[in-house]
Symmetry: C2
């Protein structure tokens, strides 16, 4: 197995290690015949450069890291997948470090990546304070922040405009003549839920509509959370005909519970989700939702991380969610 070192090749080819190194790295100044001979040896002897040695001397590794809460969540899986595609194209190894949703483990995840001399890191962090991140990004020009916006490092941010998402949901409910409106939100202490809700409320207001506080529930942003939120909503004994839900997973949980209780979607209540994960096209009913272009965002983040963007090109990278109308909504 990959036992052969550069020395072995050099010896076999009767050249110095420097020459072998040159052909391995496609360096210049190598005689065509020599190059060919060495290349032959390399493949027959199954030589593979030792990445550790290379990274050691180069003081950097051909890797791209990504920090996400966990791999199992379809949304983050999609994020990781986008980065993986760019990684493959650029022949760099993907390093995934999971950081749960706590500042401490997010930092640990980043530290672990940096310890591997990984320079390009796409970070999904909701908990690390702005200042910490700003300091970190100033020292590391190849870090990229995804799904979060921080003014001071905006040129290294790739984020989604949550307000607009909320607004579009409000616009659509208004268009469908709904007026008893509920909201199922995430209970995570991060900005996104607040922003989506704020955008939603502002949107409603612009149509002379308003959101009854009793009809705002919070739960974990998961299928289970959706189930629970729907139960809470039902307990309020306050009528509603439309719900704006934090994400698709919750929305599907909500619908599941609603139907279990004999309420039909969209006949009795309309539901709008957020994210547009693949699944939302296959759930029953198919979900009306706001498309979160996570795949292109991830790819751009990876590209940005790979290219040391030392001097900020100011062009900020904000994405806007699009309303995708399917079957979980209906006019009143």
């Amino acid at each position: 197995m990959s036992k052969a070192t550069i020395k072995d090749i050099a010896r076999a080819a009767n050249v110095s290690v420097a020459t072998v190194s040159r052909v391995v790295n496609n360096g210049p100044k190598v005689g065509a015949k020599t190059r060919e001979r060495i290349q032959h040896l390399i493949s027959t002897m199954g030589y593979q450069p030792n990445i550790n040695a290379r990274s050691l001397v180069m003081k950097k590794a051909a890797t791209i890291g990504v920090v996400i809460p966990d791999v199992a969540d379809p949304f983050f899986a999609a994020l990781a997948n986008g980065i993986d595609q760019i990684a493959r194209e650029n022949k760099v190894q993907l390093l995934i470090s999971t950081g749960q949703v706590s500042a401490e483990s997010e930092m640990k995840a980043i530290a672990s990546l940096m310890q591997q001399r990984c320079e390009s890191i796409v970070i999904h962090s909701k908990k690390i304070p702005d200042e910490t991140l700003i300091a970190l990004f100033n020292d590391n020009p190849k870090f990229v922040l995804i799904d979060r916006y921080i003014e001071a490092i905006s040129h290294r941010c790739i984020w989604l405009d949550n307000h607009i998402g909320g607004q579009k949901a409000a616009d659509y409910f208004s268009e469908l003549n709904h007026s008893n409106i509920a909201c199922v939100n995430s209970n995570l202490d991060i900005d996104d839920p607040k922003e989506r809700l704020a955008g939603f409320q502002r949107g409603l207001a612009s149509h002379g509509l308003t959101l009854n506080d009793k009809l705002i529930t919070y739960a974990s942003p998961s299928l289970q959370g959706g189930e629970q939120a729907a139960q809470d909503l039902l307990k309020q004994n306050t009528p509603f005909s439309a719900i704006f839900v934090y994400n698709d997973a919750m929305a599907i949980g909500v619908i599941s519970t609603l139907e279990d209780k004999g309420l039909s979607v969209p006949n009795d209540v309309s539901v709008i989700g957020f994210d547009d994960v693949l699944l939302s096209r296959y759930s029953r009913p198919k979900l009306t939702t706001l498309r979160y272009p996570i795949d292109s965002m991830a790819k751009n983040a990876a590209l940005l991380a790979l290219s040391a963007n030392i001097n900020p090109t100011a062009q900020s990278s904000s994405y806007s969610p699009e309303l995708v109308i399917r079957e979980s909504t209906q006019a009143l």
Copy 2:
């Protein structure tokens, strides 16, 4: 940032690098006072050992690799997630290498991991020939094969008994008095579809039932594939009241199409999936399926990979799928 090297610490502490190395690695024979002083320096100076240098001299890295087709598929995401959990517990870095479903890229993925001096690798490979794998595993005692069984290296395999899965599906359909039975299978040229189908057919036979060849369709094992397979099935104009589907994703696609065509599940047709992904508990109707304990399998695989199991302890690791009855099936 992690600029300080072991030398810097040694200099600051007025000791040799050897001593610093000892305290970093919790080595023996270090005076209590010295150890304390050095530890203090380490944390105040923010020293982080250079993993590349360490891996270089140790000729191995504190990492665990996993080779899967892609990260976005929920099933593989769950697999990766299980491994990630064990990795975190053991403080080793997770390396994910995606290998599509082609022998060539699977090999590339493995090579890339090995090049990083990653010793423990959990491999999900459907395409690499047995012999290649056997040779590979003989050279690398910390490789583990997941979701596949090869006799010669069975002590390094963690697999699921597909036959039994098929059989249980057949048993249940028989119990529900179905006799016009269809099968939607994966069109991937790997063993699993064949084994599940064989088990299913054997099971049917044991109940005096039989599967009409016209009612066996193949498609890609995805939501989209399920849609297409269902359309194909409908075109046959051959009545059926039950379908055994290759996996949950396809099953949900199948149900989606069936309902679009006005067929109700389970009233008109019963559907059994395979895998029991989280989603199947939330789809409408909730999916009856065979539970694939991928999480425990992944964790065990990771544990096995981390522990050099040089001398085979013979205890093979076969898992058996369990039937989970939910709402997509009904007695005739």
